[in-house]
Amino acid sequence: MPAATDYLSPQTLSAVGSLELRARMIVEGLLTGMHRSPYQGISVEFAQHRQYTPGDDTRYLDWKVFGRTDKLYLKQYQKETNLDLVVLVDASGSMAYSSGNADPAAPGSWRKYDHAASIGAAMAYLSLRQQDRVGMTVFSDRLIQVSRMSNAHDHWRSLVDLLTTHDPRTSEQHGAPGGAKPADGFATDFVHVFDQVLAKLSRRSLIVLISDLFDATDALDTAFARVHHRRHDMLVLQTLDPAELDFPFRDPSDFIGLESEGKIGLDPHAIRRAYLDALHAHLARVEEATRRFHFDHMVLNSHESLGVPLSQFLARRSASMSKGA
């Protein structure tokens, strides 16, 4: 039987077909790990009791526990919040990439989209447990699926359905090999998407953008500026496949773009350094843009544990709540 923390591993999660079950497993694994988490105290369930330390507000001492155990624990109450969480999940063609299997549509492969959807679903689950209002948007070059903002208990299921009803598709699957852009589109257009998303937000929100951010940094810059201008907070989780981060290919190959970029044949050995230079330059520009607007930016390896981004998310949520308070 897998340990609870194994539930955060993509290898484990990829074996689970249901996104709903995946999200629950992720949260269970995450919360179990919180015993040793530096974020202890911000979790709802574990925050009920905390050993007293000098200086704590004695109003929150739980006397019943003291009576039974003769030890002092602080009693923490679930706090009412007004945080709105908006999860934006990129479903463009590039998110269908997985280096685990040559065929991105094959079962068992862990695509970047799977990683993004799992993170998004887990975040939504955690937020709903905190009574936060959660909205979910799946996009590519436009909004594909948009949910309403709600903190109802049954809203989570609708969010999961929203993530699973759309599946990122490549240009070939759209029947447009050679680079002709299909009618429904599958690249990303952050300016357009963020314009539409921001137009729907009436309250200050925490926006979680889960994407590979394969778009021009100028467009990202513009989109981030608009988010910042509307005084929203944002957590940018840039999800990348390990192959994209390392470019480990050796044999001469024809690289076929998943977003209608066409085909290019080359020797990976010869191009690797230049590719990595270009990638790192892009990541640096993204990092610089997020830092300029005081957003958090994290590069996620789609083959690594989901614990770190979720913990980041919780910390960011806490920070946003503090700002709101």
Binding site: Y97, D251, P252, S253, D254, E261, L266, R272, A274, A278
Partner: protein, 751 residues
């Protein structure tokens, strides 16, 4: 062309494979492009950006890698094929150095031999040499030398003109002399040294039939040739198989002057020597035709036919031949007409042209002279001064009795020898020119002019026989003899007497070898010599090899002679150290006296040096003709060509060696002739043993046999390559390392 191209390679297959292997990296390159794995990829934006940035560099790098890989494969193939490089370079005309190839081809008499089913040896040798020339590259230079004696340089200096070499070889005809490999190789070594040719670029091809006559393998090559193998690569053809050959090895007239006998018949006597060579010597029969023709050519004046029956295993034989002709047949019948006629004595093996493999040495010629009579001058004191004496009281009496005895009618001039008087005190040139020989009975009477005239006459071929005057006075004339005629002799100034009792005498050495001209008497020689006693004499000692002692005193020194002879110029000097007087010696009274005078005169006259020498000329020699030829500008060869003459210290000599056998006549016609015969030893057509050749060649250094089936391969394999193959391999290794580094660097796989 095909042979030329094939000659560029020693490992042709490997070379072709190496050349073909160039396509391997190209094919791999193209296949790699065709067989790329499809790879779906999301981060195309960065890949495209990187590719656009790197595209030109990548293309250059890939091109460089492709070139380097092609070079590696190509150079490896070339390096392993070794000689290919030099050959290719030469064929492209970029190998400016090239090789220097000396072709030394044997054109000696034995190469004229026809081998059953294979044609003439010379043709096969020429074919081999031509194939060698055809295998040479455009930058190679070739010289062609023929090694029959004397060595001739057909193409003397190495030249890139292969057409000239081909033409020289095509025109080359075998000569009649023997090969002289030591001389040819010595000249070759000197030429290599003179041209300062690098050892690895000199190839010497020895093309020979290697018959027994070619090389004296019992003697080591000259010491100075020991470094030849290090100066050049030596390639040697293998010996050709033995063929049988019968030859006339010598035709020696018994006398160069044949005199008519009392019946007016001239008898020409000669000795014929035959040899036969071959693997087997079965019983067989050889017919020989002998003829005497006029020296200027024409129908035979006398002919004979002899047969030689060879016993099994017999390889040499000799026979006496005799041709008879009347004076009338010889054109000497008229007593007032010509006294002499030159004849060519010719011996030829019957059917030599058809059945004999080497007909050239089946013919031999010699010059003889037929005379009606000889004229002998007798230089004595003037008749008026002669003291009256008893019968046979004077030396001249003994001479007359021996040479021109009176017939029944009292005539003394009917025999073949006519005596004329030549007063010793007034000896002149005219008298000497009318005589065939001079018997100088009174040298003590000869004045200075006489001695001078006499010397000049002898030097031009005259024969003088000095006799000691019967006088006990001091013999001051002996000083003149040593000064004018025989500087190597030592003569006493006064007569010697035996030491001891007055009646004691010197005896002659009967065991002393028989003089060549006295060989008719050889059987009886000791018996003829022993009775002779000498009771008074002039001491006569000889010293040089030219001096020949005919009669030697017993119990005396080796050089203490009674009768000795020496040559002077083209003539001959003879001296009897005792007077023709019974008081001095009993020789005039003994049986030896008459034949001694006759045989000496008949043998010496006509061949005092000159005739004997000119009858012994063989092909390849450059004879000195002697003073009688003074004034002659040129000679006509047997085939009608003209050879120029030059003056030398020893007389007139030919400007170039002679080869064509036959009679050579002076031009314009002064009636002087000499004959040239093939070098008999050069006709030995038996094959030399390969091991013997190996032993002879070993001291020269490294050498190789030429593969008879494929001479081109052997010659091509000797192209210089050692200094190219290894450096090429190092270049390949360097390129491999460079390729590895470049491939790693270009792919940036530095981790």
């Amino acid at each position: 062309m095909t042979a030329q191209v094939a000659g560029l390679f020693t490992t042709g297959g490997l070379a072709a494979a190496g050349a073909a292997a160039i396509t391997i990296p190209i094919a791999i390159h193209l296949l790699t492009r065709l067989r790329r794995r499809p790879q779906r990829w999301a981060a195309m934006r960065f890949l495209i950006e990187a590719y656009r940035r790197q595209r030109q560099r990548i293309q250059i790098e890939q091109l460089l890698l492709l070139i380097v890989r092609c070079l590696i494969v190509a150079l490896l193939g070339l390096a392993l094929s070794g000689p290919l490089l030099g050959g290719v370079a030469r064929s492209l005309g970029i190998d400016a150095a090239g090789r220097t190839v000396f072709i030394l081809i044997d054109d000696a008499l034995s190469t004229q031999a026809q081998e059953p089913g294979s044609g003439a040896r010379a043709d096969r040798l020429r074919d081999t040499a031509l194939r060698v020339v055809d295998s040479l590259g455009s930058a190679d230079r070739v010289a062609v030398w023929s090694v029959a004696r004397p060595m001739l340089t057909q193409v003397a200096t190495p030249s890139p003109d292969r057409a000239a070499a081909r033409e020289a070889l095509t025109k080359l005809k075998p000569r009649h002399s023997r090969a002289d490999w030591p001389a040819a190789l010595s000249a070759l070594q000197a030429e290599i040294k003179r041209l300062s040719l690098p050892p690895d670029r000199v190839t010497v091809v020895l093309v020979s039939d290697f018959s027994l006559s070619t090389l004296d393998t019992t003697r080591l090559p000259p010491l100075e040739l020991s470094s030849l193998g290090s100066r050049a690569k030596l390639l040697v053809t293998r010996p050709m198989p033995s063929v049988s050959n019968t030859q006339i090895s010598a035709l020696v007239p018994r006398r160069s002057v044949a005199l008519a006998d009392a019946t007016g018949v001239v008898v020409i006597e000669a000795e014929l020597h035959l040899r036969r060579f071959g693997v087997e010597a079965p019983e067989s029969l050889t017919g020989i035709d002998i003829a005497a023709r006029p020296a200027g050519g024409g129908e035979p004046l006398a002919v004979a036919r002899r047969e030689v029956r060879w016993a099994a295993g017999q390889t040499e034989t000799s026979l006496q031949i005799e041709l008879k002709a009347t004076l009338a047949a010889l054109g000497l019948g008229d007593a007032a007409g010509a006294n002499a006629r030159g004849l060519t004595l010719e011996a030829r093996i019957q059917d030599a042209g058809s059945s004999e493999p080497l007909p050239a040495d089946g013919l031999r010629v010699a010059l003889v002279e037929a005379r009606r009579r000889l004229t002998v001058a007798v230089a004595d004191e003037p008749a008026t001064d002669r003291a009256e004496g008893s019968w046979f009281s004077r030396p001249r009496d003994w001479i007359e009795a021996a040479l021109a005895p009176a017939d029944a009618n009292g005539h003394t001039d009917t025999g073949p020898i006519r005596l004329i008087d030549a007063p010793a005190s007034s000896l002149d040139e005219r008298t000497l020119r009318a005589a065939d020989a001079l018997l100088l009975l009174r040298p003590d009477l000869l004045n200075d002019a006489g001695w001078k005239t006499l010397r000049a006459w002898v030097e031009q071929g005259g024969f003088v026989w000095l006799f000691t005057p019967p006088s006990d006075a001091p013999a001051t004339w002996t000083t003149r003899v040593t000064e004018r005629l025989a500087p190597d002799w030592r003569l006493s100034l006064e007569p010697l007497h035996p030491v001891g009792a007055a009646e004691s005498t010197w005896r002659l050495d009967g065991e002393h070898p028989v003089p060549e001209m006295m060989r008719l008497l050889s059987t009886d020689w000791p018996a003829l010599v022993r009775p002779i006693a000498v009771s008074r004499r002039i001491a006569l000692k000889t010293s040089t090899a030219q001096d020949t002692v005919w009669l030697r005193l017993a119990d005396a020194g080796e050089s203490d002679a009674l009768l000795a002879t020496t040559s002077l110029g083209d003539g001959r000097v003879m001296m009897l150290a005792a007077a023709i007087d019974p008081a001095w010696t009993n020789l005039p009274t003994k049986p030896l006296f008459v034949p001694l005078l006759h045989e000496t005169l008949r043998g010496v006259i006509g061949s005092p040096g000159e005739a004997a020498r000119l009858n012994a000329v063989v092909s390849g020699e450059q004879p000195t003709l002697g003073r009688r030829w003074d004034g002659v500008e040129s000679v006509a060869t047997p085939d009608g060509q003209t050879l120029r003459l030059k003056r030398t210290e020893g007389g007139v000599a030919l400007l170039s060696p002679v080869d064509k056998p036959g009679v050579y006549a002076s031009q314009p016609g002064a009636g002087l002739r000499f004959v040239v015969n093939p070098d008999a030893d050069a006709g030995d057509t038996r094959a030399l043993d390969e091991q013997a050749i190996t032993r002879w060649l070993r001291p020269l250094g490294d050498w190789k046999w030429i593969d008879p089936a494929n001479p081109l391969a052997t010659v091509a394999a000797e192209r210089p390559r050692a200094d190219i193959g290894w450096p090429l391999l190092w270049v390949v290794l360097t390129l491999v390392l460079a390729e590895t580094a470049m491939a790693r660097w270009f792919s940036h796989a530095t981790k």
